[in-house]
């Protein structure tokens, strides 16, 4: 692709035009990140009078801490489940909507709504629905012989946050999948139909491979979403409990730093989290460049 180049007569003007964006990035992204890295090497005394530079002590403690390792495990389960659930359900919905001709627009509009709901509200919605004393879902589940109580049962709690977090992300994935499906030429599926492939075979051998750029993009977005943007949902639904069962890394950063006031450890955790996401994204982008081309 050819890039359009603009020549500025004045050397300062381009920097001036970039300044607002640069300022926002520096003040709200780079500076806090640097601060986090800095405090991850420090320890503060209980009264906040002085801080000591302690090198990697925070990190050493962190990786020796069983609750932290537990949180890593919970995060893995949570992120993988949310990504798989959100992506598979949204793909299913997108394929179904793509087959409907007349009411296509209506379904698309309706299915996008959940994305506009704030994470905390999502958390509260599902908290209500699954509330063991007043919720409708536990009432129905009791009919099936399941005694739902996410307040005392860790796996119930995990299931609840996974469902809530996926539900919110489905809209986003759905939009991208619908757009991706529409960019697969109709004539390819027609050619495959003439070539004797049934609807399922057509989807898996023609449409799905051609959708792979979208799928990989969403994979990155979803993993990042599950690991970072689900704070509100966790906070409103389970607050990391019961007994650390849903205490994912991003929630633990908050809990340790702002509730436990252990700033050093919290900062170290957020640095680890940052590194994980950088690594994940780098791996996935490299993988994409090699794999997703046709």
């Amino acid at each position: 692709m050819q890039t359009k180049r603009t020549i500025f007569p004045n050397k300062l003007l381009p920097y001036l035009l970039l300044a607002p964006q640069l300022a926002v990035t520096l003040i709200f992204f780079i500076w806090p990140a640097v601060q986090a890295v800095k405090s991850s090497f420090e320890r503060e005394d209980p009264f906040g009078f002085k801080t000591t530079f302690i090198w990697f002590d925070n990190y050493k403690r962190l990786f020796a801490d069983p609750t932290y390792l537990n949180s890593v495990g919970k995060t893995a389960v949570f992120a993988v489940s949310v990504t798989l659930l959100a992506m598979s359900v949204s793909l299913l919905l997108a394929v179904s909507v793509n087959r409907v001709l007349r009411t296509n627009r209506l379904y698309t509009t309706l299915l996008v709504w959940p994305y506009a709901v704030a994470p905390v509200v999502v958390g509260i919605l599902w908290w209500f629905m699954f509330n063991p004393s007043i919720g409708i879902a536990p009432y129905l589940l009791r009919g099936l012989g399941i005694n739902w109580n996410h307040r005392i049962d860790g796996s119930h709690a995990m299931l609840l946050v996974i469902i809530a977090a996926s539900w919110k992300q489905i809209s986003y994935n759905f939009l991208f999948f619908v757009a991706g499906l529409q960019s697969v030429p109709q004539s390819l599926t027609e050619a495959a139909a003439i070539d004797g492939a049934g609807p399922f075979k057509r989807f898996w051998t023609i449409v799905f491979p051609l959708l792979s750029p979208t799928t990989f993009f969403l994979l990155i977005v979803n993993i990042n979403y599950a690991m970072f943007d689900t704070f509100g949902i966790i906070d409103a639904t389970t607050s990391g409990g019961p007994a650390q069962a849903t205490n994912i890394l991003v929630y633990k950063v908050y809990a340790d730093g702002f509730l436990g006031l252990n700033i050093g450890s919290s900062a170290a955790q957020s640095v680890v989290l940052m590194l994980i996401v950088i690594a994940l994204t780098a791996i996935q982008f490299r993988y994409i460049e090699r794999r997703v081309q046709y």
Partner: protein, 354 residues
């Protein structure tokens, strides 16, 4: 090897009729070209035969079997699409194999057929490339290859050459013709290009507004267009259609002996001459507006004196005629095509003039 029969085939989109009742029988091994302006229903008709479009009413028989309710895969046809519709994520070989694998063809048989098709189309060296690494002409060949390997009862071509440049189009046109002659597979071919239609067809179906205007061999259609539409559509430059009044006073008009109901006369541009031929002729006085040299011949645009009607004639070579010059055009009575404007049909009988 098969015949295709279309019986009173109709297609409506909602309340809008696209195909209004087509009867056509394609003989075994024949190449029939459907030609017409865009929106005439020719592609819809082809897609109905392929099974990609539902049928509102009527019957489609392929090899004697009614396939109206059959899936595209069950119809034993292969289709070449306008945009080729090659699977972009598969190599050329995988593209060719796809249809065979889906049908559970044994491995040796697949290899044999792919090799055979690759040899016929000379795409052997490209088998391991992806479609995006091929030129337009090569993609076209692969698309044909994908149809050939299936060894179907019929080929369906949906404007397969319209994405190619003019030179390649002529070349591929010849190849398609040779290939079809060699394989003797019954074929339906859709195009809006009348030259393509004329050169490829065993028989030609001229369509307009969802109906068949004329069915016949290319020469029949060219020599005796059945309707005003066909007369204006087939032939380049198109046939001159002159109202009767505009030529009524011309010398030689009295001896024409036109059938009843004639009010339009058609004359092909190459059947109008500037030098008076022997025998009885219609002579039209005109003045030259423009001379277009196009190589071996020239198109002369003139206006008839009196009626001011525009007429085109093609003359051999590059005549030395100035714009504005007065000329006389001569036409043999046998070369005139009489039509009735109201019905849009020929007024003389179907029997050809000598």
């Amino acid at each position: 090897m098969a015949t295709i029969n279309l019986v009173d085939l109709k297609k409506n989109y909602g309340s809008v009729p696209a195909v209004k009742g087509i009867n056509l029988s394609v003989k075994d091994g024949e190449l029939i070209v459907l030609v017409g302006p865009s929106g005439c229903g020719k592609s819809t008709l082809l897609r109905m035969v392929a099974g990609l479009e539902s049928v509102t009413s009527g019957r489609i028989e392929i090899a004697g079997r009614d396939v109206v309710k059959a899936e595209p895969a069950e119809r034993d046809i292969a289709m070449v699409f306008q945009n080729y519709a090659l699977y972009p994520h598969m190599t050329v070989r995988q593209n060719l194999e796809y249809g065979l694998k889906n049908r559970g063809t044994p491995r040796e048989e697949i290899d044999r057929r792919v090799k055979e098709a690759a040899d016929i189309l000379e795409i052997g060296p490209m088998l391991d490339r992806k479609p995006r690494q091929l030129s337009g002409g090569q993609r076209q060949r692969v698309a044909m290859g994908r149809a050939i390997v299936r060894e179907p009862a019929a080929f369906l071509f949906d404007e397969p050459l319209s994405n190619l440049d003019a030179k390649l189009r002529v070349q591929m046109r010849v190849e398609i013709r040779k290939l079809q002659r060699r394989l003797k597979t019954t074929s339906l071919y859709v195009t809006h290009d009348q030259l393509e239609a004329m050169t490829l067809a065993d028989r030609l179906v001229v369509m307009n507004n969802g109906l068949v205007e004329q069915l016949g061999t290319p020469t029949e259609v060219y020599d005796r267009p059945a309707t005003l539409f066909v007369a204006g559509f087939i032939g380049s430059p198109p046939m001159n259609l002159l109202s009767l009044e505009s030529i009524a006073g011309a010398p030689g008009f009295e001896g024409l002996n036109l059938p009843d109901g004639t009010d339009v006369i058609g004359i092909r541009p190459d059947q109008l001459v500037l030098d008076q031929p022997t025998g009885q002729n219609l002579a039209l006085a005109a003045s030259v507006e423009l001379l277009e040299p196009i190589g071996g011949e020239s198109h002369l645009h003139v206006r008839l004196t009196g009626s001011n009607q525009a007429v085109i004639l093609s003359v051999p070579g590059r005549p030395d005629i100035a714009e504005g010059a007065a000329v006389t055009l001569y036409a043999r009575p046998a070369d005139l095509h009489p039509f009735n404007r109201e019905s849009g049909r020929r007024t003389d009988t179907a029997v050809a003039n000598p």
